[in-house]
Symmetry: C2
Subunit: 350 residues, 2 copies
DNA sequence: TTGTAGGCGTTATCAG
DNA sequence: CTGATAACGCCTACAA
């Protein structure tokens, strides 16, 4: 049994409450006794029991993180995302004395159960959900439980009741498209995965917006979706067989980016000479690709940091307006794109 | 204020202790009252307060994870490692009803402070340290605190006092070398980073062991270390300029593997036609490389799982022998190696 | 099988 | 400025 506040009190010949006051550095207490008590604490090797404090204060100063349910292939690219987001959350939490508890489950059901346990068990003061998924039970539960929380991503249901942190995907795709247009590309293809995800919809929107702004007619033929992983080859073929094949592609996932790169190579085509690529989500995959992929940086660290900030604010003042935050994206230049129609093919500096 | 055990007791017309017994599913209690109490709990929406339970039981059923201090470049490749290890730990923890708390700090000092807080604050029952570093203060602290813990990696100090989970790097390098030998390679190079790390030393050992077993003389000229990142080009050059350049390379980090791949390409050389590569640590980087790199899989998930198992065992029975676990590695075949068919160069005679 | 009472280590309220 | 005293929500002898 460890040293308690009472032991210290006894040794310092004061009452437990005085020791408690010293711990919280109350200013209703004389410097003299403060010093004395501190000395005794040092001497006895006293350390506060956060559990006990949590019980009486009804607060654990801990944030719960709901990880994304990871299935087979998909989780791979999520990997770096998780670490970076965690870093961002961690930074903020550390600054504000919060601890972090994460879900342990592997399946959707398990993760839900973990969340319920953390919340109902009063293990955490707030929650950050690392994904947004239609029909997911976690967000409704959190609303029901009335616990402060934030979602990273754009919630589909009851969006105006939840605080979220996300990128502006419409704008990001618009930026990417305009970037390619500025390099004199005119035929630009778009590749996405599951079009039922809001992210993808938004990106397609942004893509068309940029094109239409420049006066290009909307042509759905340049937008393709890859359902099955490793199916990039087929889609690339479709593009190449068009009467006016694109000279550049916007690809909405780093994994698919690498897939296209591979398929290009198999067709004895070169990037960026034969095709410019710009990929969504700068990750270590895109950085280490050969050539390094030009990518849209979604600033994952910032996403985490802001989410944490939001939740902590909500904890400190539950009536805070649930303002949601949009983290700007930026284009990270790689070597997978080139400029068309310049006197000489001009490569962008690194 | 939420529903407590007392509320349930009152509503069910039993005493709080009875309710408590129902919670712990004690068998000293009639099925009838059990059912009744459970109904009331359901009706009232009762949920246990784990904080309170933790206080009285002196145990939180939570494991603390000490993350690796991540500096500039190095952390990138650590990234996937963290997520995978966490998955492994999570799986085991979930099975045994443990929660997970992770450090939030970014610097070595902060992480140390986080660890102290978790342990002294009685927030966790055990600790898993995700790295082994010479001179680090965390392990000595944990020993001092007498809390159950395990280290992933091979601790340098006081190794026989701590439980650790690691791969057998000597064996792994031996396997990799033998693999290449079986493909008829005779000149095999080895590339490592900082040779002061034990891992690297072990791998060099294994490399030489395999060669010497086959009767090849020890030739330090085929072992090179890359200090500065992005310096792979120079080292590759050195190899290529040898009188008997290697036909295969064993590379001790995935990052360096990609670097070599890039340098090969810049020299208009092909993998595996001109050089076979086998890389340490299968990660998503090696999987997504073009060509996919043949890699030594260190089974990160298993490392995490076993570490968790060890700590939980230690918690349940503190007198358990601190057996350490060696997780076997295995070679994941990629497309970066080939078999040298011709029995061209004979054994080297010296 | 069930109830009573005391305590886990802190903080908070109220006196003094 | 400091000290009793009562919670916080649960568990666990010890009784009944």
């Amino acid at each position: 049994m460890a040293i308690t506040i009472k032991d210290v009190a006894k040794a310092a010949k004061v009452s437990p409450s005085t020791v408690s006051r010293v711990i919280s550095d109350s200013n209703h207490i004389s410097e003299k006794t403060k010093k004395k008590v501190r000395e005794v604490m040092e001497e006895l090797g006293y350390h506060i029991n956060l559990n006990a404090r949590g019980l009486v204060q009804q607060s654990t100063k801990t944030l719960g993180i709901v990880l994304k349910y990871s299935e087979n292939v998909a989780w791979k690219w999520v990997n770096p995302f998780v670490s970076e987001v965690l870093q961002g959350i961690g930074s903020h939490c550390h600054e504000h004395g919060y601890s972090i508890m994460i879900t342990t489950g592997n399946t959707e059901e398990e993760i839900y159960a973990d969340t319920v346990k953390m919340v109902q068990g009063k293990q955490v003061d707030g929650i950050i959900v690392l994904y947004a998924k239609e029909g997911d039970r976690v967000v409704p539960f959190l609303l029901e439980a009335e616990i402060p929380f934030a979602v990273i991503g754009k919630p589909v249901d009851r969006i105006n009741e939840v605080m979220y942190v996300d990128n502006d995907n419409v704008q990001a795709a618009k930026d990417a498209t305009e970037f390619l247009l500025s390099k004199h590309h005119q035929k630009i293809g778009f590749i996405g995965d599951n079009p039922t995800f809001q992210v993808i919809q938004d990106r397609v929107d942004g893509y068309f917006k940029a094109l239409e702004w420049k006066g290009f007619p909307r042509d759905e033929g340049y937008v393709k979706f890859i359902r099955d992983p490793e199916d990039e080859g087929a889609v690339l073929d479709e593009f190449l067989k068009m009467k006016n094949p694109p000279t550049a592609l916007i690809i909405s996932s780093p994994l698919q980016g690498v897939g296209i790169l591979k398929s290009m190579q198999e067709n004895h085509l070169h990037v960026p000479e034969d095709m410019s690529l710009i990929v969504f989500n700068k990750t270590l995959i895109t950085d280490l690709s050969i050539p390094k992929l030009t990518a849209v940086d979604t600033q994952t660290y910032q996403l985490g940091y802001e989410a944490s900030r939001g939740v902590v604010e909500l904890i400190n003042n539950p009536d805070t307006f649930k303002r949601s935050v949009i983290i700007p994206t930026k284009i990270e230049l790689g070597e997978s794109h080139r400029s068309l129609k310049s006197a000489k093919p001009e490569f962008v500096k690194k």
